[in-house]
């Protein structure tokens, strides 16, 4: 059993939980994820680790209350135990000293880029991050991100905080050399996590610039160890399993259209079980 040691509401429908999982904390690396089962009748859902502490044996998970299981997990209290957590899973993000790296997080995806941005910074990169949310209330982890980046840009769809608009608009300005500080500086890698439409828009934007763009795919999974194939996706002309071949892939090669349809496979069932709450 995996005990919840801390819990904090970060925004409307976004909750942070800290869980005792010493074996996982010991091995965790930026970009990896875990599979969580809330209780004995629960489903297996993948969640990215936002943080971990090897000494204290804890991992931090950030949940967006969008489905039945995330809702149940967010409702758990400090001291409660989560039935099962398996991890760390997937390949860690490849961290190297490259030069300038731009990390882009949309919505709850900010939780996923936080450890990656930190790792790139620690490896000696110049890390610029763009984080975006629908509005000010939904923006999470601003301070944590600021602490691990050389520069942090913020956008909100409605303009209630930071720049009004999407993360891609700001990214385009940087790549076009229009921002004062970034003029004429080469970007070596872009790392983007967020809604599929956002990752697709970022990849489409960076393609003509020929800047390597990595996206982390949050597909549907069951075992998450390469056994069921529920997470399969098309990358270039190859079929890949996001759980064991990813979750990071070259955004310029991912078939986002297919991915968008696959993640909606169980929409009708999700509504049915959501209604039982």
């Amino acid at each position: 059993m995996f005990k919840i040691t801390n819990k904090e509401r970060l925004a409307k429908d976004i909750t942070k939980i800290v869980v005792e999982a010493p074996l996982i904390a010991k091995k965790a690396k930026a970009g990896q994820f875990v599979v969580v089962i809330n209780d004995d009748k629960g489903e297996r859902i993948p969640l990215t680790m936002a943080d971990w502490d090897r000494q204290r044996g804890i991992i931090t998970l950030i949940l967006q209350d969008v489905g039945f299981t995330t809702h149940k997990l967010a409702a758990r209290e400090i001291g409660n135990c989560i039935a099962h957590i398996l991890g760390p899973l997937g390949h860690a993000t490849e961290i190297k000293k490259l030069g300038q790296v731009i990390c882009i997080g949309g919505g709850v995806g900010i939780a996923e880029i936080l450890p990656v941005a930190g790792a790139f910074k620690q490896a000696g990169n110049d890390v610029v991050s763009i984080i975006g949310a629908r509005n000010k209330e939904l923006l999470i982890l601003e301070e944590e991100m600021r602490a691990v980046c050389n520069e942090l840009y913020i956008t909100t769809d409605d303009g209630s905080y930071g720049r009004k608009g999407f993360v891609t608009e700001l990214l385009k300005e940087i790549l076009d050399g229009k921002t004062d500080k970034r003029a004429n500086r080469q970007t070596h890698l872009i790392y983007a996590v967020g809604p599929i439409v956002m990752m697709r828009a970022v990849s489409d934007l960076t393609r003509p610039f020929r800047i390597k763009t990595i996206v982390s795919l949050n597909t549907i999974m069951v075992d998450a160890t390469g056994m069921c194939g529920s997470c399969r996706c098309s990358v270039g002309d190859q079929a890949k399993f996001a759980c064991v071949d990813g979750p990071d892939f070259d955004g310029h090669l991912v078939n986002f259209q297919e991915l968008g349809k696959r993640v909606n496979q169980f929409k009708a069932q999700e509504q049915i079980i959501r209604d039982t709450l």
Binding site: H84, L89, V222, D223, A268
Partner: protein, 465 residues
Amino acid sequence: MRQKVRQQLPKQRIKNFNEVSQGLSEEQAIAEAKRCLQCKQPKCIDGCPIGIDIPAFISFILQGRRREALWKIKEKNNLPAICGRVCPQEDQCEKLCLLNKKNVPINIGALERYAADCELDKSSVVSPRLAGECLMRKSEVRDSKVAIAGSGPAGLTTAADLAKIGYSVLLFESLHIAGGVLSYGIPEFRLPKVIVHKELEYIESLGVRLDTDVLIGRTLTLSDLFAQGVQAIFLAVGAGLPQFLAIPGENLGCVYSANEFLTRINLMKAYRFPEYATPINIGSRVAVIGGGNVAFDCARVAIRLGRQTQLVYRRTEKEMPARREEIENAKSEGLPFRLLTQPIKILSDKDGFVCGLECIKMELGAPDDSGRRRPVPVQNSNFVLDVDTVIVAVGQKPNPLLAKVTPNLKINPNGTIWVDENLMTSISGVFAGGDIITGADTVISAMGAGKKAAVEIDRYVRKLL
């Protein structure tokens, strides 16, 4: 006359997930045991991959000493209630039974199950002789620790055999429930999960420490295990990588690998959604592609979910690798076969879900490497099956994950782990067995490999002492 097991009637059983076979009654078991010739040189034992003394346990049944029959079986077999249900006896012990010459071999599988089921509530019972043997050998290897990755039939067998001779055994499973294919793969109506659970309790009662939610290679590496003082490691991680057909449309909604479909149903209990939170989304007309036991399991699950189901297979019934009994059971449950039919494309509706399966007719040509006649396409014979769900059950390959994250672990070109004649891998002290070295095979051959591995590991560790 060979006694037949009692079964739930087809029209009744297609409406539930309860076990199809009800086993033998006491009278039937004794009548069947009476037929055994008690051969002086019994051939049946040669047919058993783990060498159970079959005539001896049958003789106990005949005398009404059911518990001693079970003890006799458990001298060799740690999972008798499972083997009695899922072993392909017709290709093993029963094939070599003298009475098979007249096509009426002893129903050994049903008798094994009969013996096993009597003690199911007290499954930790170990025969006095076995207990004595364990005690005698315990002192020598008491402090030796062995770790096993994977709690399927191979891993469980090795765990039990090593625990019985005194080893401290750590058994790791990546899923949240132990049993491997016994839990995620084989459906409830062929192998009730309460039976698997009871057999697991027996293994734990031997002193095996079972840890679920641990993925060897990720949560703990082989080096971590050696650092914890483990003297040998057995890799029994199975053949869990699903194969697809590589045809257009395979990533559409409502296309499942057999593994995904069965895992959702068996392990996650999606057939009881929303009481259990894991969903399954299938339409009303299901095509299952394949002709092995797994394909039949999928088809019979789909029938029980009330779906109009058909089996699509590129050869004929004769070449099907599935057990005869399963083929017959499926037929009596009304499963239609589309034989000599090869799927070539899965058709999509506007939302990205299946709306048809385009196939081509096949005919049998010259025999291939497997000795079966190779199916070849008939030109211009394309047609579309009106289905809205496709389940691909065309085999599994060895799970590549552990190999990928373990440097120095030598892998064969077909993805299996390389081992020497003593089942040792390219890393000293690390052994492997079961489907991970042979490719997908039966429960009993994995158990056979598990037994051999236990012997080899014991020999290896004793050399270190």
